[in-house]
Symmetry: C2
Subunit: 105 residues, 2 copies
C-alpha cells in the first residue's frame, strides 16, 4: 500500500462525511445537475481553480446540464485525503445552485 | 434519415474542411492538449459559451491538460452541419494556445 493511500476502513469512514459520492473501483464519483448549461460550466471553472490550488486535478465530464466529477490519487494508486478534501470543496461550491443526481450523465 | 442529418458522403466532404477530427460511430471527436491545466479550462469555458449561443452542446471530457470534445446532433440521430460548425469554432478558439493529440485523454 502506497503512502497516503486510505485503507478500505478509512474510506468507509470518509464516505460518511461527504454526501452523494460513490465508489467506483478506486475512484470517488459524483454527478451534479444544474438548472442550465452555463451553471454547470461555472461550477467546472470554480472547481478547476480549487483543484489547481491543491495541485490535485479531477476528471470532469460535462454533459447537458450535468457534470460528473471523478477523483483519485494516481500517484498513490487509490484514494487519499486529497480526494475527499476536493469532494468536500465541490459540494461547497454547489451551495444551493444545483442538485445531485444518481444517474450518469 | 432525419432532417438535417448528413449523408456519409457529405460527412466525408465536411471532414476535409476541419483538421484532426475523427468519426467515432455517429460522433465527431477530437482531443485538444494544453500547456497547463487552466488553459484547458479556459478553452472549455469559451467553447461552452459558443455552444450555448448555438444552442448546440458538446460532450466535454476534461483530463490532465487535455480536453476531449464529442459532437453529435441527438435530435437528428447523427451528424449535421451544426456539429461541423462547432468543430470549426473549437479549432478557431485554440488558435496557437495548444496542440492537438490523437490519443484519448
Amino acid at each position: 500500500m502506497k503512502p497516503g493511500q486510505l485503507t478500505d476502513a478509512e474510506i468507509q469512514i470518509a464516505l460518511t462525511q461527504v454526501s452523494g459520492w460513490n465508489l467506483e473501483g478506486r475512484e470517488l464519483v459524483k454527478t451534479f445537475s444544474f438548472s442550465c448549461y452555463l451553471a454547470g460550466i461555472d461550477f467546472v471553472s470554480r472547481l478547476a481553480f480549487a483543484a489547481e490550488a491543491m495541485n490535485h486535478h479531477p476528471e470532469l465530464f460535462i454533459g447537458w446540464r450535468k457534470v460528473s466529477v471523478r477523483l483519485s490519487t494516481h500517484s498513490s494508486g487509490g484514494l487519499t485525503q486529497l480526494d475527499f478534501s476536493l469532494a468536500g470543496q465541490a459540494d461547497a461550491l454547489m451551495g444551493n445552485q444545483g442538485t445531485t443526481s444518481p444517474e450518469p450523465v
